[in-house]
Amino acid sequence: MKSAANRPTRPGEDDPRLGEASGDASPDHPESPGEQTVAFRAIRDDDVVSFRTDDASAVGAEHGDENSAPDAGDGDPGDETAPADDATGTSSGEGDDGPAGDEVSPVASARDAEDGSEDAAPAPETADGSGDGTPEEAADADPGSADDAGDDDEDTGEDAGEDIGEDAEGEAAAADSGRPATDAHDAEAGDSEAGDAEAAAAGSAEDGEADPAEDGGGEDGNGPAEDGEDEAGTGDAAPGDRVRETPMPEEVSAALTGALAALRDSVADLAFGLDLPGAEEARRVQAEILAQLDDYVIPRVHMSTAPALIVVAGSTGAGKSTLLNTLANAKVSATGVRRPTTATPVLACHPDDYEWFAKGDLLGSLKRKKAPSHTSGLGELVLVATERLPQSVALLDTPDIDSVVEEHHEIARRMLDAADLWIFVTTAARYADAPAWRLLRLAKERGARLAIVLSRVPPRSREVVTKHFVRMLTEYGLGEVDRFVINESKVTDGMLPDDEVTELRLWLAELSVDDQRRTQAVQATLAGALDSFRTRVPALARHLEAQVAFRAELRGDVDAAYGRALAEIDEATRNGSLLRGEVLARWQDFAGSGDLMRTLHMRKPGRLSGKASQQGPERMGALKAAIRTGLESVVVSAAQRAAEETVTRWLNRPGAGEALTPAQTLGRPSDEFLRRAGRVVSAWQDHVVELIRTEGVTKRAVARLVSFDVESLALIFAVGLLGYGTAEVEVAGKNALPQRLLHALLGAESLRSIGAKARSDLRARIGMLFDDETARYVQALDGAGIPDESAATRLYQATYNLEVAR
């Protein structure tokens, strides 16, 4: 149903053009954007009416037909875009579920003049709409809807028609520029026969349009429509309406919404774990962008019909709240001598807009309150309605930007990010303050629409101060901004004398009435915000990339340090430095005391050979333990150095230190390391024994003569491997005693293969040990947050998509 409701508007769009075209009898008319828009509105209302009075289903069906018809038949941009406008318009107008009901409600509730005019228009439009799709049906439908329209006109015409008339006359300028279309409507509304007239007009229009459409002259028929839209973009009348109801064509809007949602997701996904220089800033920017997207951009794109939100910002004590009170003519925001005064933002708007702000998505994350709570102002928004403020313009009083309460600055920034216009309040005593100018710079960067109020100006120095301030502004490139000067005067009950703010009030009123200007302002600020994403989001992405790169560097440090440790161990087990100290002494003991010789037994049991194989097991054990200790200490000392080196490297990189606070424990091997290293080494020793046992294929010639003790031979092998450098067979090297023995026993081939296997096994085991060690660093890095490498790409992509969608 919803889709149907959305769609009906499309035909409406077409209709209005036609209707007006025919009505005016000037070929140009259909093209004029103003008419289009007006017609849309009218149609909407009409639709509603027709839904109500006539059979809704029929209309829906008609609409459906119509929808399909123009789309399929035309394929013109003009048509397509136009319906899109409508669709968005209605969607924004609608709150929740039933399209018809929703549409009706606005009519009934708020808009007097506009509604009236719109009401008047709709009838013919619907008729037209149906006419577009199928001429016959349209013909049938026409009378019905025309009647409806007539009824509506009468109903609202009494109220609205007059109002409009007055408005139109009184504020001719506004009406003219705002929406020329209204003129037409006014005129229609004014006529008692408006309904008939329009119906007739619509009928003819339908015919007119229907013909080209049917003829397949869609191009012709739509051609003007396109023009009209183009004009609408630039023309006076159209933009106002268009923006309010249909800021962007449907596809674009959908694309934009999608792009924004994607952008939001990818921004929200970011995590800047490492405290690089700028990380804090990046996190802040991230939060800001998120808040701005949620509070402002996404709702604003969705619902461009919203009243403009004007944020009053400035220094503490500048009189923001006083200004708001004065404009609202009520004490809506607390004032006082205490600085800072305002903690909770206060939004004041016309009662008609109240509902919108109470329910709307704009600043949706803030809890609405009737009055400021005394506990905390965070995450809250006080909402007040006041008749004194013009419609469609809401004022938001913010906390200060420069007091000691720093949360206020955040809130203020957030409010500013959600603003359509900024009113920047400063005082004669403050206008040169640095924070104030930072804010102005921000406004300039964001392209936000800005008005500046120089408040609390002593009357006698008004000229000097104003001149100086203006000069500063001009130098700063803000000379063109709207400025208001308020004299320092007695504040009674939180309000200034009303005549001080007359100018400002006029400005607001103009803004309220002059839809076009307001729209322009809103659009400009929205565009500025979207523009700002162009630089802010890539900046985030760049920082993220920096983090990714930095993390890779830190990771690289770890790998480099432990890689070096591994190489050191390799070196130590090759250059013979292991055969020192206790290992050497034990080896000498082992060899010198004859145990070495006793490793070998004669295979043939000789007369006395039986007894000869007795060895001192304690000496062998001692040698084994010595080798284990020696190897272990090499590993531990290398690990210690690697750990130190890693931490040193990390600390030498700015920004790493803070993120990795447990660096103290990282500066040395883990507690378990010693034990684990011992286990690894003895496991390796066992492995060597196993290797000798299984692979130590004894030369056959030898095997007949001699047998050997595997354990001892493994020890000799280990000494040869680690102590004498290499397992390769050296022919007559003096040091190669174990090798020669082994060579003689096992044969060169077998010895070589066992040597290679034992060495690679040792390396693998130590490598695994070190992997566990490096895992601690990786954990520390991960604990600080893993920047997702693809997130940067996603950010760029999202930014690009956003640009495309615009």
Binding site: A318, V337, R339, A429, G581, S633, S637
Partner: protein, 547 residues
Amino acid sequence: MTTVGTTQTRQGLGSRLAALARIVELGPGRADPRLLTEAGQLLLRAGDRLKLSSDHTVVALAGGTGSGKSSLFNSVSGLDLSPTGVRRPTTARTHACVWGLEGAGPLLDWLQIQWRHRFARASALDKGESRLHGLILLDLPDHDSIRAITDTEADRLIQVADLVVWVLDPQKYADASTHRRYVTELAGHDTVTIFVLNQADRLAPEELAECVADLEDLLRREGVENPVIVTTSATTGKGVDNLKAVLADTVARRRAAIQRLEADLDRLARRLAKIAPAEDAPSPPASIDDARRIGLTDALCDAVGVPAVGEAMENVYGVRSAEWVGWPYTRWAAKLRPDPLNSLRLGDLRDEIRGLTGGSVSAQPAEVDNAIQALADGLTTGMPEAWQDGVRDAARSRSAQLPRVLSEELTEVAPSLDRVPAWWRLLLAWQYLLVLLFVAGVIWAGTALAYGVLGAGELPGGLAVFGEAASLPWVGLMVVSVLGLGVLTAVASRNVVVLGAANERDRLEREMRRRIGAIAEGMVIEPVDRELARYNEFRAAMRSVRG
């Protein structure tokens, strides 16, 4: 009374500054360089300020733009010295007004106040203002306008003035630019800070009271324990006399300069304390105690393998001695056994094994490293990170040479395992003699058996005695006892060898230990002791700085 107090304070300040100088000297590499730089600057500033006129008190009027510093300045001095205005910011250069000019020149030079902005109150203002004599009042530029972003003059003078008067106004009294950057930072400076709430005329009395209360609250929250708040109105002149009275009081005591420096010192000390050892941290030993020395020596002995060397020596001696002092018959019997080495045609390996045991001692570098590491780790508990590293680096300062030095030194005393003592040779000769005797006895017995018992023939006359059967038992007894004597000698000398080797092992281990201890003392303990002494001195200096 005041002078005495001042002198005492001066002396106290002097010793604290000396301690700070010591910290600056000892700190590099161990403390945050920025803090040390700051400490150095403070030392310089204190030295300068204490050298300059102590009769003058430099009072700076500081505050945001538009708070009325210049108006107040003019109001206190009674003259329109500093231009006031409505344009913001108004004052760009510091103005100074001096009550009592003599001796103030160098001070003003030091403060870098331009000549044309100096004013003397001595002549123009000698009407009952003598109580302000010695006051140098500075009207600073603001610190919060867009101009101040590029101009740090206010910042500089706020850091050096003896007394800072914060000129606030109802509109700006809670500005972050004042509070965050200065008031909170200088929270300990209560005695040398005055807060003036100017433009009091803009508020109704009850509003003013609320405002003052709010300001006081705020200041207390920021750590200013006893804020002195004076409300003034430079335009109406109300409250200016109060301010003057406060100033006069400060000036008369002539202590602001020292108090300011003390406050600065306190603040610096607090910040240093964060990186320095905590007051209650366990104090590390002034030097390495005996237990640790022994621990280190033990560890190094293990790295060299002293026990293993001793054991090897003992074992090898035992085995080797058997070749000399053992019973020759068992040796000969062993030779009859088939030798696997020979069967592998590796007979020369035997000599190689013999050569292998030619004594050499060396240290295992990795174990040496670990020993040093363990020593450093044991010492540094409770030390700040930087000092832990320092101690470790000191311990390691010569660890690269240590294994080599140890090896060289110990090789001197290393037992050469293949030496042969003279008594071994004697015993060998004795054993061979016994063997000869045995052989001779056997021959005699054979002869006696053949000729005496069996009557195989007649021996030549001279040898007839050998053929007597009666001698046979005696000869037999002799042969047996010669054998027994050989066994006994072998067993006894074996025991002697073992005993001697054990003794030698003890002696050797003691000697090696002694040498290792001496090397450790010179190459490890001494640098560590130096570092520990430095650390303890640093701690002591920190305590003195804290006062």
